[in-house]
Amino acid sequence: MNSDIERRQRFELVAAKVYEPLQRYLRRRATPDDAADALSDVLLTVWRRLDNVPPDIPLPWCYGVARRALANQRRGRQRHLRLVERMTTEASTSPAHEVDDPALEAALSELTESDQELLRLWAWEQLEPREIATVLQTTPNAVSLRLTRAKAKLESKLRRQDPFTAGQKRDRHTEEHRP
């Protein structure tokens, strides 16, 4: 019985740490209804796999479970190919989200979905390569490599999307070298 109480306490501690960040993670990538369903799925997995959850930094592990929960939802409902499109539409029409950087958004949308996801995990979830590796079930080295390339690709697209800014930089550069 004591072990039951101890288990509940451990779960409640983890849940308190991940509850709100998980909502953000899921709502960045799914509709509110799907996010709510996935949140229950993730917490259920945390409860069932409590011994496998890293107690100090449970979030990357939970993001990994959330990622699979969303993937399962997409497969289960046979609509996985439409979700990204729908999410993009919803994100851009969400009252909480006012895009004030269309050049960056356009450049980001030109990257592959896996590059976009890497950059989201890095910038939105504020994860480091080691933590992203836990989410994506790969190695930190592979993440570092892919992240470096994704950033370079984004910056390259951005230079093309954002000629005004690039032009400003060029002008400044030219002026600096004037006698």
Binding site: F11, R24, R27, R48, R49, V65, R75, T134, Q137, T138
Partner: protein
């Protein structure tokens, strides 16, 4: 520059910290947690055969794809966490040599659709005769996080194939455990992805 890019990207976040989420302390949150804690704890640590995996195993066996459990993904991740539900072993396929599409029938969605295995993945390593891809999207035939392609004759010996580069995303189909070439697998392009979506989408 990196910090600047990260900050700039974070400003696109539709769920930035000023967007409210439901606190864990609300009545409905507590109700959800309580409901979960009344669920029986079915899994034992280290259990390797969760019910979640069974449909996938059946589906892939039906597709006659060779699966070799070379390593649990948890081990590859290096975090030592050993998440049992993450332990779906990588799908292993043969690449190169005389594949069944060697006669190179004309590419069409009609021929693409019956392929038993189709996914989009990013190459995380291409070393020796082995290419490892992280799966970004499963269209058909699996749910492993990674797929390993073996080219026993070496990657250079691929007939009608294409080079695999780390960090690049590919669309791959396979039949009978072999990767198909001749346009039925290749580097991911918007046109090819559209064909995959048409062939395997809902």
């Amino acid at each position: 520059m990196t910090d600047e890019l990260r900050n700039r990207l974070s400003r696109l976040d539709p769920m930035a910290s000023d967007v409210p989420t439901e606190p864990v302390t609300t009545e409905s949150s507590q109700h959800l947690l309580e409901e979960i804690m009344t669920t029986p704890n079915l899994e034992q640590p280290g259990s390797s055969d969760s019910p979640n995996k069974r449909p996938w195993i059946a589906a892939v066996a039906a597709a006659a794809v060779v699966i070799v459990a070379i390593a649990a993904v948890g081990l590859l991740s290096g975090d030592g966490g050993g998440d049992p539900i993450a332990a779906t072993p990588p799908l292993e396929l043969n690449a190169g040599g005389e594949d069944i599409m060697a006669s190179c029938i004309a590419f069409s969605v009609e021929y693409l659709a019956p392929m038993p295995v189709a996914f989009e993945g990013t190459v995380v390593s291409a070393v020796g005769d082995t290419v490892t891809l992280d799966v970004d999207t499963w269209f058909k035939g699996g749910d492993a996080a990674q797929v390993v392609l073996n080219a026993p004759q070496g990657l250079e010996a691929l007939i009608g194939g294409f080079p695999f580069e780390e960090g690049t995303q590919y669309l791959i189909t396979a039949s009978e455990g072999n990767v198909n070439y001749c346009g039925f697998s290749g580097e991911s392009t918007p046109e090819m992805r559209a064909a995959f979506e048409e062939a395997f989408g809902s």
